[in-house]
């Protein structure tokens, strides 16, 4: 059968910290490794990778960490990262190779799968090992989120997938865990790379970041323009939350693209989500499945969003919002008064 062994996850990091997706990949990697009776490794590619990154990977479940560290990898470039992983695959021959469904994962995984002559499934929300075939069954949303499909790759190794963020809970951090750290030389020459990074623009986010916010107010096509977003920002401000949008307002230029929440935008998981004048397409719902409480205000009783909302108001948001905002203020100032009284 296959001489391949082991589960490898491609980790991501920011400065000295693991990106959350890495701990999630380690958790699902650990599950698959357990089902296969094989080991779990992580690989990090970059320049001057901190020891903390590799040790944290072990604390969160890796048995071994491969470090591909060179000035060449300081900036992500498709050509260099794909080649490095191709070389690693040839050297260590894993059974399973997982990436996060991130900017990096989306760019690397298809290219790498075609390079390695194997199949890959992107944006998986579940993975499991088929007991008989030992192949990875990959589950992912399709038709913009309207349906779920399960795939398998019968001929092709390693078994590859990218995993959607926030669908797997990380394992508990265990600082007593030990593991092996292995430096891997990709042997790549910077000059031979096809392409180079010439700049970077960081998006300016005022206030709370959408992915981190505990309260998100999301505007949709029904807002009709850029101005109504001011009201949403006001509401978000009073609830200490962030503002997002579905795709149509972004496409129409009513708000910046980094507001976009959905299948091809951001995935959020706040305690409270309030969707205003949005229909709730499947593509958008894909971005909010992690929200604990979903509230929707829309004057269309048939809007898809009511199919997943916990609370809804069927009315014109322009009439609902002002009194909603006022009542929120009143209730929070009453709370403040009470707490002051007891000081």
């Amino acid at each position: 059968m296959s001489e391949r062994r082991g589960v490898v996850i491609v980790g991501e990091f920011s400065e000295a910290n693991l990106a959350p997706i890495t701990t999630e990949l380690l958790a699902i990697g650990r599950r698959l490794a357990g089902q296969l009776g094989q080991e779990l490794s992580a690989v990090f590619i970059g320049n001057e990778i901190s020891d903390q990154v590799t040790s944290e990977a072990i604390f969160f479940g890796a048995d071994r960490v491969y470090v591909i560290d060179a000035p060449l990898f300081k900036d992500y470039l498709n050509d260099s990262y794909v080649r490095a992983l191709e070389k690693l695959d040839k050297e260590i021959m894993p059974e399973v190779l997982l990436l996060g469904h991130t900017s990096l994962g989306r760019d690397v995984a298809p290219r790498l799968a075609f390079r390695l002559d194997t199949g890959v499934t992107l944006d998986c929300i579940d993975l499991s090992i088929d007991a008989k075939t030992k192949l990875v069954e990959k589950t992912k949303p399709v038709y913009g989120g309207n349906a779920i499909a399960k795939y398998i790759c019968e001929e092709g190794h390693p078994q590859m997938a990218t995993v959607r963020a926030k669908v797997v809970s990380p394992l508990g951090r265990d600082a007593s865990r030990s593991g092996e750290i292995v430096a891997f030389d990709s042997g790549l020459d910077e000059v031979a790379m096809r392409g180079k990074v010439v700049g970077r623009v960081k998006e300016e986010v005022a206030g709370v970041k959408l992915e981190d916010a505990d309260v998100v107010i999301c505007g949709g096509r029904g807002l009709g323009g850029a101005e109504p977003f001011e009201k949403l920002r006001e509401l978000a401000g009073s609830l200490n939350g962030a503002v997002g949008a579905t795709r149509p307002p972004c496409d129409a230029g009513w708000c910046p693209y980094h507001y976009q929440i959905g299948l091809t935008g951001k995935l959020i998981s706040p305690s409270l989500y309030i969707g205003i004048a949005l229909s709730g397409s499947s593509q958008h719902q894909a971005g909010i499945s992690g929200c604990k409480t979903i509230v929707a205000i829309n004057n269309d009783p048939e809007a898809n969003i009511f199919g997943i909302a916990h609370y809804g108001v069927i009315a014109d948001y322009q009439k609902v919002l002002p009194s909603f905002i006022e009542k929120c203020r009143e209730l929070s100032s009453r709370k403040d008064d009470r707490s002051n009284y007891f000081d």
Binding site: N78, F114, V142, K150, H310, P322
Partner: protein, 261 residues
């Protein structure tokens, strides 16, 4: 002069309401509701727009290529009406049910046969299967560099492109030598609407069809085991009021009681 190839797919209208969406679990695909339309996949339309934006400033010839049934010609015609110069359909029962690998293979073969493209543009993912692989796959099969999730393209003296890639915390600016393949999303800008005259002219354009006799076929690598529509629990509590204003107020009270605000 840059020759640009744009790969486009015709799909079932993704805007059909969730309630009307049904699948055939045996055939493992969606069942088009009565009167449903087939349209160009959103991001593929963005790819056509990206090509046209280049054409706005450079001498360009744009060839649209689509793998699909005969009906996909209407999508190719729409792209020509938008401003593409020509189109070609790849159609054959042997191409049906192709996964991303088999699809990329056939498209790459057609591109090789048509020859000489400086730039190939694809949508970042198709609006039906959302696989997100065909663009990168074509690039790999052709042995050319690629960049995905591109929001802006600038041609640098015909030998390279400088692109802005959309990443999680902003944009990455990358220079890629030509020939290259780029995948784009809607950040590229709103797709231009063809005039009635152009639509009429496009209806007269001949669109050749290539089949498995003209291009090699490949076996799929990914097999779909099941397809299902998840059941939804109806859990929405509708907040009422004498009027919308009161409902708004009642909603705030409800959320406060639930300790959400």
């Amino acid at each position: 002069m840059i020759k640009i190839a744009v790969c486009v797919k015709q799909i079932l209208d993704p805007e059909i309401p969730a309630k009307a969406f049904k699948i055939d679990p045996e055939a493992k695909r969606a069942i088009p509701p009565q009167g449903a339309e087939f349209v160009i996949s959103d991001y593929d339309e963005s790819a056509v727009e990206a090509a046209l934006k280049i054409k706005d400033s450079y001498e360009t010839k744009i060839t649209v290529i689509s793998l699909g049934p005969e009906s996909a010609k209407s999508t190719i015609r729409r792209c020509i009406a938008m401003g593409a110069d020509e189109g070609i359909l790849l159609s054959d029962p042997l191409f049906d049910d192709s996964d991303s690998f088999a699809t990329a293979f056939v498209l790459a073969e057609a591109i090789k046969k048509l020859g000489d493209f400086g730039l190939i543009l694809c949508g970042r993912q198709e609006g039906d299967w959302d696989a997100g692989q065909v663009g990168s796959g074509i690039a790999e099969l052709l042995g050319i560099p690629s960049a995905t999730m591109v929001g802006k393209i600038e041609v640098k003296n015909g030998k390279a492109v400088i692109v802005e890639r959309i990443v999680s915390d902003g944009r990455e600016i990358v220079e890629v030598p030509l020939p290259a393949l780029l995948t784009v999303g809607s950040e590229i800008g709103e797709a231009r609407y063809p005039s009635l005259r152009r639509i009429r002219d496009a209806s007269k354009v001949e669109i050749p069809t290539w089949n498995a006799e003209n291009i090699a076929v490949a076996k799929s690598k990914n097999k779909m085991l099941t397809l299902f529509v998840p059941t939804r629990e109806d859990r929405c509590e509708f907040i009422q009021g004498e009027n919308p204003e009161e409902a708004g107020s009642n909603l705030a009270v409800k959320l406060s009681q639930a300790k959400l605000i």
